[in-house]
Symmetry: C2
Subunit: 250 residues, 2 copies
């Protein structure tokens, strides 16, 4: 029997199962709280690099990486504004640190699972649900989803989606409490690893009103990272932040 004769009848009993796009539309609708218009965008947002598809353009394979780039920027901006308004008397160092904790890969992975996005991702091995080596996949897909929502539904909708449906999974006060600063996090790392660590101000410029300092982190008597700032404290924070980035990338 031809498929197109049977499927409308079957779909009465298993609504939507016959049409994966319809299923996706419904799932995305639940997640974003509105009817998606361009389902293709969401399909792309959920396609991990490992399932990337060749295109008519030679050397250009399509996956959610471009949407992730866009969504990362949209998410970053909406969170920036949210924190700016929530903490009118906190400086930009605080706002930057709290934002980076909110859009942290592990946290985004968690939110992605909470809203059920993980079950929709298409990746190499997705039929057997065996995970690839890199599990930042969930958070990446969440950022890509934000990119897709932005292109599909515009800025005001996306802003509300981020604030109501994503940020609601955070306890921001708790995030702030856990805000150990970079320097103390680096010192903890050194203690854990049995390394000797110290900070040195290696340069300062400016006059009595206006100064800039360069701080260096020294690990086991070897220069490890440097950072600059308007005060010694800020320069040390910046150097410690660079050092932590280096450690994370190894």
């Amino acid at each position: 029997m031809p498929r197109n004769v049977l499927s409308p009848i079957l779909s009465l009993f298993r609504p939507g199962d016959a049409d994966p796009r319809k299923n996706l539309r419904r799932s995305i609708g639940h997640i974003i709280g509105a009817r998606p218009l361009n389902v293709g965008l969401y399909q792309l947002a959920l396609r991990h690099t490992s399932a990337s598809k060749a295109t008519a353009i030679e050397g250009f394979r399509e996956s959610n990486e471009r949407l992730e780039y866009l969504g990362d920027a949209v998410l970053g901006m909406v969170i920036a504004e949210y924190l700016f308004k929530r903490y009118p008397y906190k400086d930009e160092g605080f706002l930057t640190e709290i934002r980076s904790r909110i859009v942290n890969r592990e946290t985004l992975n968690g939110i992605s699972r909470k809203i059920g996005l993980d079950r929709l991702i298409e990746f190499d091995g997705s039929r057997t649900r065996s995970l690839p080596a890199r599990t930042s996949m969930y958070g990446d897909a969440l950022e890509a989803l934000v990119g897709a929502v932005y292109l599909d539904k515009g800025f005001p909708f996306t802003r509300r989606f981020i604030l109501k449906k994503l940020l609601s999974h955070y306890d921001i006060d708790l995030v702030v409490q856990n805000n150990a600063n970079f320097k103390s996090r680096l010192i903890e790392w050194a203690q854990r690893e049995g390394k000797e660590i110290r900070f040195e101000i290696i340069s300062e410029k400016g006059n009595s009103h206006y100064r800039e300092f360069i701080a260096q982190v020294i690990v086991n008597e070897e220069p490890f990272a440097t950072g600059s700032g308007y005060s010694k404290k800020k320069a040390e924070q910046s150097a410690a932040e660079k050092a932590l980035e280096l450690l994370q990338s190894t």
Copy 2:
């Protein structure tokens, strides 16, 4: 004679000079192409750290740094979307690199001067126009201006302002042409400095379909920076990018 009797008459001859806020309103109006509503926001956007003011909150001094944080995020997002749409067949690595060249501090300093923002900045020494050590001041103020415009006039206006009034100062095709990749820029640096440099893949994970590589930059036989990526080439680019960041911060 009381000031409020004379000033309306004087202002007929030197319009606005009697009221710095009026002057600022006019100058900002020229720059953004619309009447600013909350002039205080723009005043704050133009107040460099060196001219920061104490507030009622102990330890919290007010300058344009918070608005710079917000504007940086808004600018980053609008440029991200612009490049995403302009280059539909370029990967996220390309888009990220071109964006970082557009929002590069030196470039922003230049645009800030071109639109005349530099003459409006309030900083320590601004009466004599003697410059502080740190000249990223212009670009910082431009980002803060974007933050102020966003809070004052909303997203659609700010997006148009960035695209029409700021991006118009760029020759994007030229920016793209100058897109030397990180690895070749790092190699040029090593040649200039007479350093020996090589890249090594120090780790790889995954299966035949899905891999992640860690690359290390080695300068004069010392590990210098590492980076990761889905291909050896991307891992090397990422390591070279980290190395360039380290060099810039010293």
